[in-house]
Assembly symmetry: C2
Homo-oligomer: 651 residues x 2
């Protein structure tokens, strides 16, 4: 890629972003969009929208930026819970570490690169390479600058990671003091209740806990099957009964929605028995049915004391560990009802299938990534497919500068929903752990499929024709010499995916348009606007992926850092604004996203140090190469220390 292509791309994106940000500041002032942009405030019953004059309403303003800036950590905590605060901490960590890196790399490393004179030809292709470590001659004293930057960035990262991990751990502990007794502390979720012929699950549960936990067992609540198919089947059964014996009244024909089942059952459990629709014989034949709803082999059991709940959840209840599986129950809002009925015996099969599905999906995804790399290396494509040559210069710039990242962005958009689907299929019982699991899957997917695969296909296109790798050393040389060459592609990627995604996040175009359709086409005055929880599984992986890019490239090609810092600064404002105004918090993981972010940061650090070690080795700078390798070991030790010191608090 050449400089004009990069500038084209930057120009496009800056215009788009500024446009969207201004548009947002106008749209948020319109009363019709209240439900779209202030869901959180509406939920808290304090919509804060002022009455703007009509003229004021059409002028872009920066008021939301100021408000996002002024909000304190406590405000964020009130609106977004610990998880929201942790997410903001991730952004702040990135801003801090990449500010340090920017100062070092742009003022020390970049001049060394520019005046390196290793690249003699001055053609358009080499323009971008002038800014990278490629331009530094082998054995040059200038490499000490890179080495110095590497050490300073690494050590700053250690300090910041340690401080942040400690503060998140403290937040988690404060949570315990703030909410000393939550319902979930007294409740366990029992799965794999054994099936006794002629006995309802409910009886089995009360017998078991009544005899083994006599003094502390309070009550239990069965879980009832209530999927769409189940509802349809129930309706069909009722219809059949109606048709067979027309004397029986139809009763409630619409099954309750999943979330309401339990509350409803608690309220009306006793008096509902009289109103059973099916005949007594059916009831007698199948004791696992009650109220026409089928019991699952799962129940919530309530205890008098927290200790009893803990002891029950930590002891094995039966000779078969797949029966009477007891865990602490999730918080009421956190329960993922649809998965409670999954038989515990099938969970491991589901997990295995999901694992295999994820692998297949990742392999299938190599297709678009390869396509994208083909577009980046347009000149090589031109040699193979002559019709590309007819493109004019401007179009070529657009194609090679903007289109590849856009294609990748579109394909990447479908990844988080698919991963969330996989996480659902795994059978997690809580919404928060489902989102966390999807988040982890997305991170691995992004790191592998976007970062590494783009690196290697990039190098692969460059080496077209000379595919043989004759040894480990050749492999290292290959990797080391071509990683810096991918810097421009990742710069555009940060702009298209990073900046644009922030604009998209802020604008919420999808909800906005539906809202308009509701209000102006369907003429429903209340408008449309659902209450969403923050999409951690989309946003956390993206922020961490950019962190990986930043760490890897900060000393190789410092020009990437300004783009990254712009992203993180805007992310800071946008996400604070969204947490304060848009998203609601119905459940959270109590900061469990931080260990994930920590691991990703450690992985990024190790990648940075390994690449640096290889490149120092290639440039005949053996001392630095060895010392960079020592740094890898030190990073691993640091990670071990943090795991021992803080991780027990997160389990």
């Amino acid at each position: 890629m050449i400089l004009p292509a990069l500038l084209t791309s930057a120009g496009f994106n800056i215009v788009i972003c500024v446009g969207f940000f201004s548009l947002y500041s106008i749209l948020r002032k319109q009363p019709v969009n209240l439900k779209v942009y202030f869901g959180q405030r509406l939920a808290q019953l304090k919509p804060e929208q002022k009455n703007y004059y009509f003229g004021q309403r059409l002028v872009p303003s920066a008021g939301w930026l100021v408000k996002a800036w002024e909000a304190s950590d406590d405000d964020i905590y009130r609106c977004g819970g610990i998880d929201g605060l942790v997410f903001i901490k991730m952004i702040v960590f990135s801003i801090r570490i990449f500010s340090v890196a920017s100062v070092l790399c742009i003022f020390i490393v970049l001049p060394v690169n520019l005046f390196g004179q290793a690249i003699q030809e001055r053609d358009a292709e080499a323009q971008m390479d002038m800014f990278t470590i490629r331009n530094v001659q082998a054995g040059s004293k200038g490499l000490w600058a890179h080495f110095f930057a590497l050490y300073v960035v690494s050590i700053s990262a250690y300090i910041l990671l340690y401080v942040e991990f400690k503060s998140v751990a403290r937040l988690r502990l404060e949570q315990v003091i703030r909410f000393p007794t939550k319902p979930s502390h007294f409740t366990v979720l029992v799965r794999g209740i054994p099936w006794c012929p002629g006995e309802a699950y409910s009886e089995t549960v009360s017998k078991h806990f009544g005899s083994y936990y006599e003094s502390s067992y309070l009550a239990h609540q069965m879980v009832y099957r209530s999927g769409t198919i189940q509802r349809l089947m129930m309706d069909a059964e009722k219809m059949y009964n109606v048709l067979k014996e027309t004397t029986i009244p139809e009763g409630e024909s619409e099954g309750p929605s999943a979330g309401v089942v339990v509350e409803e059952a608690v309220e009306g459990a006793t008096n509902a028995i009289q109103a059973i629709t099916p005949e007594p014989e059916t009831h007698h034949k199948n004791p696992h049915k009650k109220d026409g709803k089928e019991e699952c082999a799962a129940a919530f059991v309530f205890f008098r004391t927290r200790y009893a709940a803990m002891v029950a959840s930590k002891t094995i209840q039966s000779y078969d560990p797949m029966l009477w599986v007891i865990d602490f129950a999730p918080e009421p809002h956190d329960v993922y009802w649809a998965n409670l009925c999954v038989p515990y015996r099938l969970l491991w099969i589901r997990k295995t299938l999901v694992f295999m599905g994820t692998v297949v999906f990742s392999v299938w995804f190599l297709l678009p990534t390869t396509l994208v790399q083909g577009l980046v290396n347009l000149d090589q494509l031109e040699d193979h497919f002559p019709f590309f040559r007819n493109l004019s210069e401007t179009y070529a710039n657009i194609v090679s500068g903007y289109l590849p990242s856009l294609v990748l962005t579109c394909f990447v958009l479908i990844v988080p929903p698919i991963m969330l689907m996989f996480a659902t299929l795994e059978g997690t019982v809580s919404r928060s752990s489902r989102k966390k699991s999807a988040c982890c899957k997305c991170i691995i997917f992004f790191f592998w499929n976007i970062f590494f695969y783009n690196l290697f296909t990039g190098t692969w296109w460059d080496r077209m024709g000379k595919l043989t790798v004759t040894g480990l050393k050749d492999m290292a040389t290959l990797v080391g010499s071509l990683i810096p060459g991918q810097a421009p592609f990742f710069m555009t990627y940060i702009m298209t995916t990073g900046w644009a995604s922030l604009a998209y996040e802020l604008m919420q175009p999808f909800v906005l348009i539906i809202n308009w359709i509701y209000q102006f086409v369907l003429l429903r005055k209340e408008g449309y606007g659902d209450l969403y929880t923050f999409p951690y599984h989309t946003e956390v992986p993206r922020a961490l992926l950019f962190g990986l890019l930043g760490f890897t490239y900060c000393i190789l090609s410092p020009l990437i850092l300004p783009f990254l810092l712009v992203y993180y600064f805007f992310a800071y404002f946008v996400y604070r604004n969204q947490l304060l105004n848009v998203y609601i918090t119905r459940y959270n993981t109590n900061g469990s996203y931080w260990p994930i972010a920590h691991n990703a940061a450690i992985f990024s650090l190790i990648t940075m140090q390994a690449v640096a070690s290889i490149i120092f080795g290639m440039k005949d700078f053996v001392t630095a190469s060895t010392l960079a390798f020592v740094l890898i070991i030190f990073t691993a030790l640091f990670n071990l220390y943090c795991r021992h010191k803080f991780l027990p608090l997160f389990n």
Copy 2:
């Protein structure tokens, strides 16, 4: 290696083993060796030795074999605990599966190999290859025999593994019923007690548990520092006090041995305070000293109820998870006192260092393994070092047939003690977990350093000069074509290490000679004979390594199976005899060795299936190759199922 070399080796070993076994049957009848061969019976106060006539005493007999055969599982359980029984189960599993394999492979696969006619040249070198799959022509219908054997062996292994895992899990559960209340159920081990200035650890502990576990806290017992150096330092301090102020009496000058410290302290804790030797000022200055013994930051805390002990051990006590670390205490005999005083903060560093040490040791060990492979491939060595050519034919047979395995055996002898040392340095607090950790380390070491490295150096010597591997396919071909060639080496290895180790185990030559020296040279009538616990860390890895060899080679080179079966049959008798008569059981892991054996068996199965898949592929038998690959997936699923079904019972 050629057939005569193998036969030489077999001859040597048979003579040695028969000699040793007969010698043992004589030696065990001599009253002077009672302490060597009947430690277990002496400990149980029922020495069962009959009074033999002098003539009878000098005639070899098979009585011990009969007794070992007749002993029931209950006898083994009484003498060796669950672990002893589990170890015998491992041997029985091996006998069963390799009996099935023998019948199949020797009657179906071996004839196919012999009449395969892929190897045309009839020289000495090719003699052994006649018995392997190498002799089967590509695309031959005879490969269906191998395929059939592969499937039958795999499925039998699944069934047997499942049954055994289930029975071991049941044993563990029965243990719970048999011993409903053990002291360890009411006791927790507290480490990382925070240091409060001016306060003894003991006071800190009683304050903490007295306030947070008021109703259930019973008492606690501090752990005192009592290593050799500590004892010397204490003695020196006392001597110094004696010399400084001669008026003060010396008191008890010899520190108590580690095991006695606690009992002693419990008995005399109160009245000992009056008898403190150091002056009051010293006592005042350092509150962590008592009785001249320094307190460690570790204590045993006793509770009134099991639930309280459990709750304490499962909850986090402090904002810093490295303080107040609570685990269930090991059984009294199981405690490894020397490690209790290791500061908990240093444990992760120790573990990391031990990990690195193990890796370094494993790499260093490649030296003898390479040497051994040099001896096996003597003819290649002869080309490089001409003086080897002067060896006569017989010597050459001995060198290439017997010496390599002997060299390897000697080197391997030092591995278990070193691994035990590593496990000690790791800082485990119980003897049983120390031995288990050493056992795992040894298994990984054996599998990697003996099996895989011998395979690859073997192939490496064969390919001397053509080292370049040009791709994944070439690598597979290389591995697949040369693994069968290593069969003779492993056959000798089974004889020298396997058979000989059984003879060594039975004879206990080391203890025997020391006993004789005590009785006949030092003229001490009571003789010498310490009470040993069973060396699981030596014997389990060996039995599992032979299992790996058996699985890998059973369909490639079925001739290995008779050697293996002989080993396992004798192992059955020898180990039963040793468990019944020699070793005592002071602690055990409640069958935790079975999951290790299960994992090793799964690993062996997967190795067998992968090698078979590669070799079928090479022989142009694509259907079987694919189906063998399917079998790998099935093995992985089976393993997952077993882990979910049984493993929770082992934690």
